[in-house]
Amino acid sequence: MRAALFFTLSACLLLHGCGEEKPGPKPPDVTSAPKATGPESRPEPQVAKPLVFWHTQAQSNLKVLQEIVDRYNASKPPIAVELRYAGNYTTLFEKVRVTIPTGKLPDLVVAYESMVAEYIELQAVVPLDDYIHDAKIGLSKASLDDIFPSILNNNRYRAYGNKFYTFPFTKSVLMLYYNPGLLKQAGFGASPKTWKEFRQQCDAVTKAGKKGYAISIDASTIDAMVMSFGGKILSDDRTQALFDSPAGVAAFKLLHDLVKSGGGYLIDRESYGDRKDFSTGRCAFIIRSSTTRPYIAKDIKDKFNWDMAIIPHGEGAGPVTVLFGANIAVMKTTEERQRAAWQFVKYFCSKDVTAKWATGTGYLPVRKSAAQTKVVQSFFAENPRNRRAFDALPHARPEPGVIGWQAVRKQIELAESRAISGRTRPDVIARRLANQANAVLRKARQ
């Protein structure tokens, strides 16, 4: 026993002792810096430690991001950038939150609006307005106007002086994916423009022996439905949730009716079941972020034709969808580092870089002019569906980013499950959700 224990523990220690760690290659403009004791790297005379960028990208997206960072570092920027993987959004948020009391923050972090709102309260993040309008390192009016207004304005924080606290990073929109072949078999020549048509097509496809809409429980889909029925999620003063409006009730009624008639069905929670069913030609519709496109393309290959469209809308309402995605925040460090961090953010949102980022990952370019770049042009030419999400961008609106919204999202998903189970009336579900959401928001504001 003791021998076994001794063996195991010494093996562990030995194994570690044997291998010397190879330091990773350093960015070009970085001289050897003393060992860091925190994520923040205070500048020392003539020695600038790289800007630390906490992100959540993995796999092929991370490769593209690394390429962009490498190219930036090679361009002799004021301070080079170093990527640091911080898990998913939840762990990244946790990581930032525990770091704030120590005051040793990373230079750049990826963040959603509700996270940023918390960072602002804790004075951990800096507004970007001065940098944006800086004569030397800022952006011209033309350049700012080139960024899609829906994307740009999403980075202004109305509750905090309407200042820019972030800049766009991973942008996508909620899209309807459809199988034209199945629609044709059911007697339809085009994808649905309205939710009424959507219901009809779902039911017809189901009658023809296939399935209609594979529902994955998702708060953003509900938000999008409410907006596309012509409703609002929050009141203008951003204090009241409006799920009990006619549009909110219509959204839950749509799901309730779809499941009741068999035109819609629920997939396993947090699975890719809808994507799987769509990729195998079993269902006609799924609603997912535009970032799903490359994965579906990979799954389906040339097996059958498929396409994307902006999600349907209510009768008398215009097309609208949800704008997704995280942004980059510059954290409070030193003026020199903050300026340098902004310069990376600016580079990341420049025309060619955003085009490269978009075509390499499935996120959307943030600039209108990106559509004119060669790389995006040839990407669009490859397949018409590659430009659908880009075309939907002018109709995209962000979801609320108020404090407490993460908790509200859970309530929305519970309400969606209730609507699908069919045991509660849609108007009751909508009213109850509005009350719960308002209670959560009230508590969060205190």
Partner: protein, 282 residues
């Protein structure tokens, strides 16, 4: 005779079902790790791959390294995890033996109160202590170091409790006899009590090693550079929001559980005695 036979058959049946229930996730992991991406997504699910895709294993090892384009390799994560889990286990065994022995064999003022206070700390959730722990690590200048991964975990009240209970089962006569022969506490603890507590030590070893090996959030919080990354964080790099290659993820998971399985096999017999002996059932 007949009833005995039936009873035996029934108990075998129940045990077999139990084994199947426990073994199935492992079978599923191994089977998925050898499937093609199409097979992992097929409906009805694939139980056995048509032809085992052994290349998923080197691919998993490579892709985990590759995916973290921060240019660290999975080999480093694996070595870090072995070192950290090994050191934490050694630390916990050392501190638990000392504390468990003191609580069982020595008399000192406030012994009961201190023991109760120790136990009370078990009620504090990890999340509550997260920020203060992080601030301590930062104040010590240990951010992104092995010390941050190891030191906070080298004392564990649960292990102290297990060992104290085990030491209490050792008759005091042993200690008195040893004392008459001039044996000190120190010597009695290491040469007599500790070897007798081998089953409890085996249980602690496995629990601690497993806990440390599987740790994800703490290592993610206190480290930043790929050179300090542990396997669980490395594994998370194989997942992304939109897509997870189940076959490579399962292949990587199969590799990652090897050290724990080996440790369990080494200590299996003692471990079972230890768990049964302390009245703690998994």
């Amino acid at each position: 005779m007949k009833t005995r036979g039936t009873q035996r058959a029934a108990s075998y049946l129940i045990l077999t079902l139990g084994v199947l229930l426990v073994a199935f996730p492992f079978f599923w992991m191994l089977s998925t790790s050898l499937q093609t991406p199409e097979e992992t997504g097929a409906t009805p699910p694939t139980f056995l791959p048509a032809s085992p895709q052994w290349q998923n294993y080197p691919a998993a090892w490579g892709s985990a390294a590759d995916a973290s384009s921060e240019r660290a390799s999975f080999t480093i994560y694996f070595r870090n995890s072995l070192f950290v889990a090994g050191a934490v286990t050694a630390g916990v065994l050392f501190t638990s033996i000392l504390a468990g022995y003191a609580f069982a064999f020595m008399n000192f003022a406030g012994k009961r109160l201190i023991f109760l206070l120790f136990l009370a700390t078990m009620m504090i959730p990890f999340e509550v202590a997260l920020v203060p722990n992080y601030m301590t690590i930062d104040a010590l200048g240990w951010y992104d170091s092995f010390a941050a991964l190891i030191v906070p975990w080298t004392a564990n009240v649960f292990s102290i409790f297990i060992l104290r209970q085990f030491f209490l089962t050792i008759p005091r006569d042993y200690f008195e006899a040893a004392q008459i022969d001039g044996c000190s506490h120190w010597r009695f603890m290491w040469q007599i009590a500790t070897p007798m507590a081998a089953p409890a030590l085996a249980a602690i070893t496995i629990f601690t090693f497993l806990g440390s090996w599987n740790a994800f959030l703490w290592p993610l919080l206190v480290t930043s550079s790929p050179r300090r990354r542990v396997v669980q964080v490395g594994l998370s790099l194989l997942r992304s929001e939109e897509s997870t290659n189940l076959n490579t993820l399962m292949a990587a998971s199969a590799i990652v559980i090897i050290p724990v399985v080996v440790l369990y096999l080494l200590l299996q017999r003692r471990f079972i005695e230890g768990v049964a002996g302390t009245g703690l059932k998994g």
